[in-house]
């Protein structure tokens, strides 16, 4: 569904990605794991059009989206839940959700999606009139995912959703992600530093190190790989 070929991105003189290639097949959950500064966020920002790549191509459903601006990429059904959640802090939860449906013109569809999102995240339903900035970290993360779902994506990219969340909430969130993937058929590209968790929910994984993919394979295999165990799974 998504094919990244030879992607290179640089910040000024610093190369953040150096010829990254990977594929995300439709219907699955693929994870991109790697340590801090490996280039995970950069990869997602380049895919969603927030960053200009220096080289390489990105195709989505067979079409080249490498040079498209972010709004056109979202319009194709590729949604990005950014690192740090980036909710609109001064807007209410309801307004944030409606911002998520920016490209949807049909009010009935928007209303229907909101019901759906609130069913998935009941906690948000209780806080619809509250400004997003006053939510807890876990709630903000749910709002960020909910906002992305409001656009009705086919493909969801999540950048470190577990960051800064209590373990109990992390479990809950990952359950929801699995639900979204299983029951709605949304393909998921999950970026995580928490490799153990990411490998548990995903079917396939790529390991990013210093801007390069150093290892790829089915998640179950990687989970038992000794090198990976040493580096990312705490032995």
């Amino acid at each position: 569904m998504l094919t990244v070929t030879n992607l290179s991105v640089a910040y000024g003189a610093i190369n953040a990605l150096d010829g990254v290639s990977f594929v995300v097949p439709a219907g699955g959950i693929v994870t991109l794991i790697g340590g801090n500064g490996a280039g995970k966020t950069t990869s997602l920002r380049a895919i969603s059009g927030l960053l200009r790549s220096r080289g390489g191509t990105i195709t989505f459903e067979g079409q080249d989206i490498t040079r498209l601006p972010p709004h056109e990429i979202v319009a194709r059904g590729l949604s990005h839940v950014p690192e740090g959640r980036m909710v609109f802090a001064n807007l209410t939860v309801a307004e944030n959700l409606s911002m998520g449906a920016w490209l949807v013109r049909d009010r009935a569809v928007i209303a229907q999606r909101q019901v759906h999102v609130l069913k998935l995240f009941p906690r948000l339903a209780e806080r619809l009139r509250q400004t997003a900035g006053t939510l807890s970290g876990g709630e903000q993360q749910m709002l960020a995912v909910g906002r992305a779902l409001m656009g009705g994506p086919k493909f969801l990219m999540l950048d470190e959703p577990s960051l800064g969340l209590a373990p109990r909430l992390v479990g809950e969130l990952f359950e929801k992600i699995t639900t979204i993937n299983r029951t709605e058929g949304v393909t998921v590209l999950l970026v995580e530093q928490n490799a153990r968790l990411a490998l548990a929910v995903s079917s396939y994984a790529h390991v990013l190190e210093c801007g390069r993919i150093v290892m790829s394979g089915p998640s179950t295999e990687l989970a038992s790989d000794p090198r990976l165990k040493a580096a990312y799974l705490g032995g």
């Binding site: 601006p69 709004h71 950014p82 980036m86 609109f88 920016w102 992305a148």
Partner: protein, 299 residues
């Protein structure tokens, strides 16, 4: 007492113009986080467009005045969008300082191009009375129609702007970008269209400000934007840069303080200094300005 009330009327008319210009500074800052220093020259171009049209339009008629006003606003909107498209957009994403210096460059460029004798020249020209001139008196208070036009037009435009910001799709997009440009783009907001729209809107307001300013102080020249532009910038910071009601409030405060100082025998020479002193005091007490929210630097 009458004198004090009269000074308030004067201050209101002056402040309304500052407010109109300040809105442009504040909107662009809200979205792009930089001060568009060429804004004061857009203001000047607005006055000069109306001046040029004044040679063909009938004077002292409501429709003639409105035609000049709308034409100046349209011309300035086009100018503002063009400046953004040609100069600021290619620099987007580079250091803010680069953009700031470029803005100053654009400002000087517009000044010198217009000072060329073939374009306008450096000599001030009298500005025609485009609107009908009537003086109103009410219990010792007087206001000229041009003062009233300023207050009415400014109030109207500020209300329209507030409606645009809070009741329209474009307004929501503007606020979303102001809050978080990356998140706004990720939900599908076309940032280029919104930025162009913002420049068009802010520049149109500056154009209106230019025409209203020239109606009240009917002598126009290419450097006429410098002082009002600086004052409006102060007004925007005073009210809390990025805040629309803040810009309006800042303009009114600055206009009033300046007028009250100007009317006193001891202070009239220092009225500009006093206006800036007020800014410093307010910023010391409220660093984000009167209605500004303290902004945490984005990651």
């Amino acid at each position: 007492m009458t004198e004090f009330l009269q000074q308030l009327v004067n201050g209101l008319a002056l402040g309304a113009i500052y407010a109109l210009i300040a809105l442009g500074y504040t909107m662009v800052y809200g979205i792009l986080r930089f001060i568009n220093f060429a804004h004061s020259e857009v203001f000047m171009v607005g006055a000069l467009i109306a001046w040029k049209l004044g040679q063909y339009l009938p004077h002292s008629t409501l429709w003639g005045g409105l035609v000049a006003l709308v034409a100046a606003m349209t011309g300035c909107a086009v100018l503002g969008v063009t400046i953004e498209r040609l100069v600021y957009r290619p620099l987007r994403g580079t250091a803010t300082l680069n953009v700031l210096i470029t803005a100053i460059g654009v400002s000087l460029l517009l000044q010198s191009v217009l000072q060329h004798p073939a374009v306008f020249g450096a000599t001030p020209q009298p500005f025609p009375e485009l609107f009908p001139v009537i003086n109103f008196t009410l219990g010792g208070l007087t206001a000229s129609s041009s003062q009233l036009v300023v207050i009415v037009v400014a109030a109207l435009l500020i209300v329209v702007l507030q409606l645009v910001a809070f009741r329209t799709r474009m307004g929501r997009a503007m606020r979303a970008i102001a809050l978080n440009p990356a998140a706004a783009q990720l939900v599908g907001v076309n940032i280029n269209v919104v930025i162009s729209f913002t420049f068009a809107l802010g520049s149109a307001l500056a154009g209106a400000g230019g025409v209203l300013y020239a109606l009240n102080y009917p002598s126009v020249e290419p450097l006429m934007g410098v002082m009002p532009g600086l004052k409006a910038f102060v007004a925007a910071v005073l009210g809390g840069i990025g805040s629309i009601p803040g810009a309006a409030l800042g303009g009114l405060i600055l206009g009033t303080v300046e007028t009250l100082a100007g009317g006193s025998a001891a202070l009239s020479t220092y009225k500009d200094a006093i206006a800036f002193a007020v800014l410093i005091i307010i910023l010391l007490c409220r660093p984000a300005g009167l209605l500004g929210r303290p902004v945490a630097e984005k990651v």
